[in-house]
Amino acid sequence: MKSYSKLLGLAAPALILMGCSSTGEVVDAPIEEVPAPAVIEQPVTPSITTIPVDPPTFSGTTEVYSGDALDDPDSVLAIRVIYFEYDSSNIRDEFQSVISAHATYLIDNPNAFLVLEGHADERGTREYNMALGERRANSVKNAMLMQGVSAGQLEVVSYGEERPAVMGSDSDSWAQNRRVELRYQGR
């Protein structure tokens, strides 16, 4: 790992203003110190290689092994996004079965780890939307905990309105952006 930093010019001395009277003679004027413009130079960070996360390993016998269930496009487990109403973190009825299926999968695969990514639409302020995204992810998490999933298999992270699924400022786009994404770690 190589790391270096450099600084371009900077930190200039204070500028000092000197006044003249209106007759043109130089007189003492209020002196004010003014920092020079900051010339900004970033230390260059070496690019860092990503360390791949081990894929989930499944214990148990071959019959119990269910690594494929997540990959089955016909399975309800293929649904990985839960959508929400405006300013709400309540789980809609149509998504109860999706959450149940994932909860069952997690219970059956105690080494699986699921990140619940909460998102909001662009309306309202950004940090408030961070909180809203977290509430949504937490309601999915709580629903799974109720079904017996171990808390150690779940993590919640909110991206607020910062990572919209679709761009656009209309009700369709907003509806697609109010969501929790289910991301199995290592898959």
């Binding site: 209106s22 860092i48 360390i51």
Partner: protein, 437 residues
């Protein structure tokens, strides 16, 4: 926990150098005032070199024009180009109906430059002031010239309006641009108040948000997702050196500096839901300030340092509350409508700007804390992230224009409007709190 094995450093984080080319914010004045003062800014004389590296008159005229309070006269109408006060024939300028006149010159000297200018009152034929920058015995370096032009603009503005200017200040903002590889790049920029001289201080594949200036204008606190989790950082602008604050499971966000620069108000949800904390930077210690099951976020320090205003959903919708920094019972500040959030104070503490929702539209609104009453300042839509200029006369905020995020500036009296845009989305403006006078 498995997820944590995604190493902290396994990040695609691009720290840029300032030479990288970036689009400058383009400024349009969308509304001015009719009583703007006609002023002539004569191109500065040049001594000891072919041409000046910076167009002083151009920068000064553009600054005065943008304020909405001045109408710079076109250069082509000038009958002469005096560069010192003694060369001025006032009659010529009265013919043009100029009220103010600025003349000056820039001299190349050993190791740098010296600038001199004069402001004259055309009607009375008198000189109002004159300065040499810098003081005798010192010189300006080339990278200080643009800043000097903003200082001159501030001096002129103050002399003619009686109020301090805010030209020699900076603006931080966040951009989101679709790169050639089809992925987004998020950058934190710092630019001069006229949008010129933009420098990316951070660029990442992961979102960056909530920039907040330290009171001395030397540091920015912000939230970066570069570890795939929100974490608060403090970055020194001169050196690029960064400090990562303590971070916890859940939200780590909404940093806001205390007026003395020693503490940050922040939000953590480590105890289950978002709460306001005071983070003592020297001792690296935290103190929890709010205790409520609702969302508490977006803290901002009052200028006297005594209290913190924040957004809370404790009454249902988002409203603003105020709590003593020492702790205590929060007092609700806003009752207008069902959504008031992301407050920010004017430097004198008399005004509170916020995001206000009315009939599904989001506006920038200002509440007068002494006299009461909330006024809408923006045209409404998806307006957010208000930030006062350090002299309190303007508010910069983010809005949408034709599907794109742009910045806008409105004077607190609502009379002057500007729009600032560039390639990609621009948002979360923060005006430096640094004050010159």
């Amino acid at each position: 926990m498995r997820i944590i094995t995604v190493r902290l450093l396994s990040v695609c984080l691009y720290l840029l150098i300032s030479s990288q080319a970036h689009a400058v914010l383009k400024i349009e004045i969308t509304q001015g005032i009719s009583s703007a003062m006609p002023i002539a800014v004569v191109p500065f004389g040049v001594e000891g070199m072919e041409s000046a590296p910076v167009d002083f008159a151009g920068i000064i005229a553009a600054n005065l024009h943008r304020s909405g309070r001045f109408k710079p006269l076109p250069e082509k109408d000038f009958l002469s180009r005096p560069t010192t006060a003694s060369m001025v024939r006032f009659k010529e300028w009265r013919m043009l109906q100029a009220e103010g006149l600025v003349v000056g010159n820039i001299r190349k000297v050993k190791n740098g430059y010296v600038v001199q200018f004069h402001l004259l009152d055309v009607y009375s034929g008198k000189r109002l002031l004159g300065y040499t920058i810098p003081a005798r015995g010192k010189v300006l370096r080339e990278n200080e010239l643009r800043y000097a032009a903003h200082q001159i603009s501030d001096i002129i503005y103050k002399e003619l309006t009686g109020k301090p200017g805010a030209f020699a200040t900076q603006i931080a903002y966040v951009t989101s641009v679709l790169a050639a590889d089809g992925k987004r790049r998020y950058s934190l920029f710092v630019a001069d108040s006229d949008g010129e001289n933009p420098r990316a201080v951070l660029t990442s594949k992961w979102p960056v948000m909530s920039p907040s200036w330290s009171p001395d204008g030397q540091r920015l606190a912000y939230v970066s997702f570069e570890t795939e989790r929100p974490v608060i950082y403090i970055q020194e602008l001169l050196t690029g050196e960064r400090k990562r604050l303590q971070s916890f499971k859940g939200l780590n966000g909404a940093p806001s500096w205390s007026p003395d620069g020693k503490q940050l108000a922040v939000v953590f949800s480590r105890d289950g839901n978002p709460e306001i904390y005071v983070y003592d930077l020297a001792r690296d210690k935290l103190r929890r300030l709010t205790h409520n099951r609702a969302i508490d976020t977006e803290p901002v320090w009052s200028p006297d340092g005594e209290s913190i205003v924040f957004t809370s959903s404790r009454s249902g919708g988002a409203q603003l509350y105020q709590i003593p920094v020492a702790g205590g019972r929060p007092k609700r500040l806003t009752f207008e409508g069902d959504y008031n959030s992301r407050a920010t104070f004017s430097a004198d503490g008399k005004l509170l700007a916020m995001v206000h929702r009315e009939r599904d539209k989001y506006y920038i609104a200002v509440k007068d804390l002494e006299r009461g009453g909330v006024r809408l300042l923006s045209e409404g839509g998806l307006d957010e992230s208000p930030s006062f200029s350090p002299n309190g006369s303007m508010i910069i905020y983010a809005t949408k224009n034709r599907g794109k995020s742009v910045l806008a500036i409105v004077s607190v009296d609502g009379h002057v409007r500007q729009r600032l845009s560039q390639a990609g989305d621009v948002r979360e403006p923060a005006w430096s709190t640094f004050k010159l006078n």
